[in-house]
Symmetry: C2
Subunit: 321 residues, 2 copies
């Protein structure tokens, strides 16, 4: 992809035809990605990395798909409260459930993290892993994003999907390392991103092995097992993968430690943050209830990590555009 | 491998030359393995399984390598107590360390699981993950098994290594699911078994992300994170892989739940237990300080799981023979 040396128009056309990142404008960020991949895959070159060590880790919410106005998993949880309400008449007068049922954002916000944990426990536990997966799949098949009026499965960022494919075509193993629930993300990772379940890392609920009338099941318990955010991301990467990534992609301070951990390995590295700057096509935010991009952006500036300016760097965001 | 239909001597010879499991005697167990693999890989056949779902999980100690007279990781821990003793003069008069230093098996046994946890904490924590890996590698390069007088890395079971290769050649993804420490096993999984670190699941210590003079490290803490045995194995398989295995291999009651979980999936399955019956070439035991093969063997008999009789089914056990 050494576009600088192409002077023959036919060569230029060939490159254009085979551009692996067509939704990326020809900016410095795109060039840096192409150069990084060329460097680590050039056998005999100073930056060559064997395929087995080409590990790339991606945050999910806000990095691979839309996280506004709510994390998609949170929208699922709120919808589940509505669906389960007939079996829980007490929720009509019990917070935080009453707030959800009455669409009372103020009361919901007042319930805070403790309220959120109660909602997650009520909607994500008390069933087997197989049952939960089926519930998530059914919801994804019918629910729509309130702003875009599209299925949530249509809200993957096309440029990032291209990037995932491009990395895999160059021998990378692509992982999701999400603060979201590991089983929730697995319900979309293969169809949306081409990432199999064993390459999804995320937050988890405790599960318990049990025999139900002789049939083994894994029951989801209403208890947090692991929160895969901030410091938790490098901890989980080491536990699940046992190798340090050579490339890492995020969009918030929750990804800062993952990028630090990636950057600190020997050899050439790629660290990238997605900055949500496009109010017209998506959202423009750095601070929201869904987290903030602040310290990680400062560190990116100091250390030369790449920052995607969505409005400027991406000529397309969603497939439905 | 349909040996039954081979009547031409040249064909028989060809099969013999290409036998993927040469260290396995031509017993019912070997035939059942070959038939299972043929069935799940025959496109269009009733038992066909797509490659992505060909997940095989293997216990490590006693299934892939020798676990007698001590778990190899326990031998490592005891050696580390000796190596660290000069920095801990108090260990000369403090149990369980005194017992280790004086080779007092009775006092060590009396210290029980609590004593073992203290030894693990003292030898497996207080360093970074990278440092621990280097310590394990250095130990493996010099330590020898007391009975066989061979490096521990020479104690993999050749028939199981052949089986791993054979499964991978048929599109399987092979995982280790060990009660041993995940990082300890990763130090041997690639060179001994061809299994990369991201396909090793095991017990773990808690780790903590920290910046040491600006450099990110993962510190190993003296606290158990997860015990990957019995009920823990299906729990960990779901968490790490997110798919149910179609084949599972173990040697003790610690593997029973993994085999149950594997057996309970839809479609054709393979469950196998290694029974240590060879006092001449290895060890003959079902009950030992390293666990027991009792209830799992009963269930194997009831449900038709395969049982390897090491003395009868394997014509070779170790590479050094």
């Amino acid at each position: 992809m050494q576009q600088g040396i192409l002077t023959n128009p036919a060569d230029v056309q060939q490159v254009m035809l085979t551009d692996p990142l067509p939704s990326w404008n020809d900016s410095g960020v795109k060039q840096a990605i192409l150069q990084f991949v060329a460097a680590v895959t050039t056998a005999g070159g100073p930056d060559y990395v064997p395929p087995a060590e080409r590990i790339a880790t991606f945050d999910n919410d806000g990095t691979l798909w839309c996280e506004q106005p709510l994390y998609i998993q949170l929208a699922f949880a709120l919808d589940r409260v509505g669906a389960l309400a007939p079996q829980h008449p007490e929720w009509r007068t019990t917070q935080p459930f009453q707030a959800v049922l009455e669409h009372d954002r103020q009361a919901l916000a007042a319930a805070g993290l403790k309220g959120l944990a109660e909602i997650v426990a009520a909607t994500h536990a008390g069933m087997t892993t197989d049952e939960f997966y089926a519930i998530v799949k059914a919801w994804l098949a019918s629910a729509k994003h309130p702003h875009f009026d599209q299925p949530y499965t249509g809200l993957a960022y096309v440029p990032m999907v291209e990037l995932l494919s491009y990395l895999r075509a160059n021998g990378f193993k692509t992982y999701i390392v999400s603060g979201g629930g590991i089983e929730f993300v697995r319900a979309v990772s293969e169809p949306l991103y081409g990432i199999p379940p064993e390459q999804v890392i995320g937050s988890s609920e405790k599960t318990q092995y049990a025999l139900q009338e002789g049939v083994p099941v894994l029951m989801r318990l209403p208890e947090l097992d692991f929160f895969d955010d901030k410091d938790g991301k490098p901890v989980a990467i080491q536990k699940f993968i046992g190798r340090r990534p050579i490339a890492a992609f995020g969009n918030s301070d929750g990804d800062q430690q993952m990028l630090q951990w990636t950057a600190a390995g020997a050899g050439r590295r790629l660290m990238l943050l997605v900055d949500h700057t496009d109010a017209a096509r998506e959202f423009n935010y750095r601070v929201s209830p869904m987290g903030r991009l602040d310290q990680a952006l400062t560190e990116a500036g100091q250390r030369g990590w790449l920052v995607v300016d969505m409005a400027a760097d991406w000529n397309r965001i969603f497939a439905f555009e």
